[in-house]
Subunit: 163 residues, 2 copies
C-alpha cells in the first residue's frame, strides 16, 4: 500500500490495525502478534509515529460513567460563504470546548458539529450564547443522540491508499 510516498507493507498495516483498537498494547506483545522480535517492530512503530502516520494515542472514556450527559449533533448553515466568514466561525468553534468535533461539509450544509452538554437546557443555553456571539449563522438544526450504534476506528487499512 502506498500512502503519500511512504510504503507500508502488511506488517505495518497489521501494527496500525492492532493499535487502533489496543492503543496501549506493550511493544513486546505487539511484536509477538506480528511475528517479529521486539527491535524491528519497535523500529517500524517509531517510523509510523515519526512519519505522522500514527498521530497519537487516546484513552476512550465511558460517557455513561459521567452521566448525565447529552450529546448533540448540530448542522450549521452560514449566511455568507466568504472565506472570512468561514474563518470566523471556525475560530469560534475552536474557542468553545463544548464543541468537540466539527467538520466542514459539501452539499447544502456547511458544518456538522458534536456538542457535549449536561442536558438539553444547558445545551440550549450554550447555543444561545454561541449564536449571540455574532457569527453569521443562517440556521442550525439540533439532533440529540439517543443511542450510540457503532463506533470503530476509521478503517483506513482496508479502504485507504492504492492497495
Amino acid at each position: 500500500m502506498k500512502t503519500n510516498g511512504v510504503k507500508l507493507d502488511e506488517r505495518d498495516l497489521r501494527i496500525i490495525e492492532i493499535l487502533q483498537r489496543e492503543g496501549r498494547l506493550s511493544k513486546s506483545e505487539l511484536a509477538r502478534r506480528v511475528n517479529l522480535s521486539s527491535t524491528p517492530c519497535w523500529e517500524r512503530l517509531r517510523h509510523l509515529e515519526d512519519a505522522g502516520i500514527i498521530e497519537g494515542y487516546e484513552a476512550r472514556v465511558s460517557l455513561k460513567a459521567f452521566g448525565p450527559l447529552t450529546q448533540v449533533v448540530v448542522t450549521v448553515e452560514l449566511e455568507s460563504h466568504l472565506p472570512e466568514e468561514f474563518a470566523r466561525f471556525e475560530a469560534a468553534v475552536q474557542a468553545h470546548p463544548e464543541i468537540y468535533e466539527c467538520d466542514s461539509l459539501g452539499g447544502g450544509i456547511d458544518y456538522v458539529m458534536r456538542v457535549m452538554a449536561r442536558d438539553l437546557e444547558s445545551y440550549q443555553a450554550f447555543m444561545d450564547r454561541f449564536l449571540g456571539s455574532g457569527l453569521g449563522i443562517r440556521r442550525y438544526f439540533t439532533y440529540v443522540v439517543t443511542k450510540p450504534v457503532k463506533h470503530t476506528p476509521p478503517p483506513v487499512t482496508r479502504i485507504g491508499g492504492s492497495g
Copy 2:
C-alpha cells in the same frame, strides 16, 4: 464529581484528561504529572479501567497519510419506525466496516453515520449495495467531508457528572 455512584476527585479527572490526549504515556510519567508516586497513581488508573470509566486506548491515525480517502457523513430516515426495522438497519450497519460510526438520533433524522470510501464513486457503489440489501430506508442525504475543523476528545471531565 459523581459518576454513577463512583466518586472521582480532581486527581482522577486529571489522569483521565491526560490520557484522553496522551494515551500511551508511561505510568511513571503520569504519576509525576499528577504529583503522586507511581503506586497510588497505578491503583487509581487500575480502578478507572476496572470500573469501565476508561474503556480502552486507541491509536489515532492520519487520514491524510492514507489518502486518497473520502469521508462521508450520511443522514438516514427509515420507512418504518418499528423496533424490528431499527434492529435490522443497525445490524446491517454493524456488518459493514465502511460504516465506522453511527448514532441513533432524535429530531426528524433517524441516524447519522460516517462512511469511509476511496472516492465518491466507490462511496456511491457502496451505498447502492447497502440500499439494495432491502433495509427500509425512506431517504438519505450525503455530505462529503471537505475539511476537518476540530477533533478533540469528548470533554467529559469539564461537562459531565454533577461536579
